[in-house]
């Protein structure tokens, strides 16, 4: 007997009475989602900035290796297009679009539609997400309703930069992934 069959039979032999699956209410909270969203991003150690501020940050920083995948802002980037994510190891800034944000926790939904390689939001040193400001939902419940008919192969909620507190509970930003997250609301 295969292990698959063995496991399934062991469960079936218990003949457990099936309990009901509850319906999930919408839990619509009366909150100002944009303000809540900004506060959540900041709590996650990200930043919400204006488009102008983004442009001045980029020009002042002198970054050479920038990739812009955003359809929402215009910025010509000169970093060569790549055919393997490993070549992005030196990438300094990636700019990508977010589909929508979640007010209660600052999570921003992205799928494989937004990036040619799944590694991009992680391997880049700094991450910028451009998000339409009218695309913010209050809680995770609405987020899953909103994406229920999507057919992505990879979906991701990003809520902040890479972080860790594994050394004596001291918060350090920039563990393995992006060392910063800037969100531009447009």
């Amino acid at each position: 007997m295969s292990s698959r069959q063995e496991i399934l039979e062991k469960i079936q032999q218990l003949r457990l009475d099936q309990t009901e699956l509850p319906t999930i209410p919408e839990f619509k909270n009366p909150i100002n989602t944009e303000e809540e969203f900004k506060a959540s991003i900041e709590a996650n150690k990200g930043e919400v900035i204006s488009q102008e501020k983004l442009m001045s940050w980029i020009s002042e920083s002198g970054f050479q290796k920038i990739l812009n995948f955003s359809q929402l802002i215009n910025l010509n980037t000169t970093y060569a297009r790549i055919d393997d994510a490993h070549e992005l190891d030196q990438l300094q800034v990636a700019i990508i679009d977010g589909q929508f944000g979640v007010g209660e926790n600052g999570a921003i939904w992205i799928t494989n539609e937004q990036v040619p390689f799944r590694a991009i939001p992680f391997i880049t040193e700094h991450l910028v997400i451009v998000l339409p400001k009218n695309e913010i939902v209050p809680t995770m419940h609405q987020a899953y309703i909103k994406t229920s008919s999507q057919s992505y192969s990879f979906g991701l909620f990003i809520a902040g930069p890479s972080k860790t507190a594994d050394i004596e509970q001291s918060l350090v930003i920039g563990a393995h992934g992006a060392k910063s997250l800037r969100v531009v609301l447009v």
């Binding site: 496991i7 001291s170 992934g177």
Partner: protein, 455 residues
């Protein structure tokens, strides 16, 4: 070693024990604040518990649904009845890829299966990529907490360790500096890895996708750079619908660390072009636990660790005192199901205060199960001396007369003996605590003299 002996050792370093207690309590307080911001928190707990109840009552059907959908999406699904089979499946995939070095993000299941020593014995180097796990791996230790693997260590220990292993400056204890050293060290490993292993937080039957949550981004760094992703998942990690994620993700990080959500929540539905995803469904004792009615709902656990942070015993004894993969209150109800004899002292490492039950985001009645395991353990591991004294006590309590006589004797005995000679268990009591002063008469005697004759 029994839990009580291990905890006595832990408490000898009073300064460190105090730090451990206070640090975990701080996380419990963060959890309180985060949960208080969600007005429907208690509703979410009830919902999460009922959803998992449904999963456990319908596990075979949901597993089949999950398998069918995942396969349709291009995920290769494997089934492992125990740890050994799980480890062998992983090894076979690695061999097929001619892979000698693998990166792995946090997975309690692979700890439970002792995957690392197995792979190492077979000539494969495993690199744990979660910072805390990499630290304990360098020390050849298991994690001491399921969410905070290195919570038992201080930064000077880590500084010294990184000086030896990563050539950091001696004496530099700055957490940022140390984390950057680990980032550089692990970045190189990520770029080289052909295969990456992760755990699974949730598998969704309806869509065949699975979700992995991290703050460091290490799971994603591993799998998106590798050609092959191996995801190891306990069969109880299933949820029926994608919408259920809304409930569980609102509870998980808030319960674990007091964050509203982990910074990365990745949904894997199919492999990236030209790559592979293997998903291993693991039983390893879960179907046995499912068959134990009193202990079944321990399988609802979503591994948030909140019961550890709140537990006054865990905080004062450390994860290693439990000597099981999952320590703390939840570990003490899961582990006896795997080896009743080995873990027989764990259900007694509790005052049954019930804080674990009240903090649990999926409402597992942890402290009641600790009580129930005690009943099973005394049946399965007869400790004759204890049975005798318990029987004696039971004989006393069921006979009012014998009880009264023994009460009088007890009072006399305690009154007339020096503290050092007072019999067990009072002599253990007496080492750190004074005994109550013995009154002239019991309440019963007083009542007989003052009230009873009035009636």
């Amino acid at each position: 070693m029994s839990h009580s002996k291990a905890s006595t050792d832990f408490l000898r370093n009073t300064e460190h024990a105090k730090w451990h207690d206070e640090t975990l309590w701080m996380i419990r307080e963060k959890r309180d604040l985060a949960s208080q911001k969600v007005p429907e928190w208690e509703n979410l707990r009830t919902l999460a518990s009922s959803i998992k109840e449904h999963v456990l009552s319908n596990l075979d059907q949901l597993l089949l649904e999950f398998e069918a959908n995942a396969t349709k999406n291009g995920i290769q699904v494997h089934w492992a009845k125990d740890a050994q089979e799980h480890n062998q499946i992983v090894l076979d995939i690695l061999k097929k890829q001619s892979c000698a070095q693998v990166v792995k993000s946090k997975s309690i299941l692979t700890e439970e299966c002792h995957l690392n020593p197995f792979l190492e014995k077979n000539g494969i180097e495993v690199i744990d990529t979660d910072l805390g796990e990499r630290i304990v791996q360098f020390l050849h230790q298991p994690p001491s907490h399921i969410v905070l693997p290195a919570i038992h260590l201080k930064k000077r220990d880590i500084s010294e360790l990184f000086h030896q292993k990563l050539q950091t400056e001696k004496g530099n204890e700055d957490p940022y500096y140390l984390t950057q050293a680990a980032r550089t060290h692990l970045r190189e490993k990520f770029l080289k890895a052909k295969v990456a292993i992760t755990g699974v937080n949730f598998g969704i039957a309806e869509t065949g996708e699975f979700v992995v949550c991290t703050n460091e981004g290490n799971a994603d760094m591993g799998v998106h750079l590798a050609d092959v992703h191996i995801a190891c998942m306990g069969i109880e990690k299933l949820i029926p619908r994608r919408n259920d994620l809304g409930v569980f993700l609102r509870l998980l990080a808030r319960s674990a660390t007091g964050q509203a959500i982990t910074n990365y929540t990745s949904h894997f539905r199919g492999p990236e072009k030209g790559k592979q995803i293997h998903l291993i469904l693991v039983d390893n004792g879960r179907t046995e636990q499912l068959g134990r009615e009193k202990f079944r709902n321990s399988l609802k656990c979503i591994r948030c660790g909140a019961c550890m942070n709140t537990c006054p015993i865990y905080r004062r004894s450390g994860g290693f005192s439990y000597q099981s993969t999952v320590p703390g209150p939840i570990g003490s109800i899961l582990s006896p199901g795997l080896d009743l004899k080995k873990y027989s002292s764990l259900p007694f490492a509790s005052t049954l205060c019930g804080s674990c039950t009240d903090v649990c985001p999926v409402k597992i009645n942890i402290h009641e199960q600790l009580y129930e395991w005690r009943q099973e353990i005394t049946k399965a591991n007869p400790n004759h001396a204890e049975i005798l004294s318990m029987k004696l006590a039971s004989g006393i309590f069921k006979s009012p007369l014998a009880y009264r006589i023994s009460g009088i004797l007890m009072r006399k005995l305690i009154k007339n003996l020096p503290d050092s000679l007072i019999y067990n268990p009072w002599n253990v009591w007496g080492k750190g605590r004074k005994l109550p002063e013995t009154p002239q008469e019991s309440f019963r005697n007083w009542y007989l003299n003052h009230r009873n004759n009035e009636q």
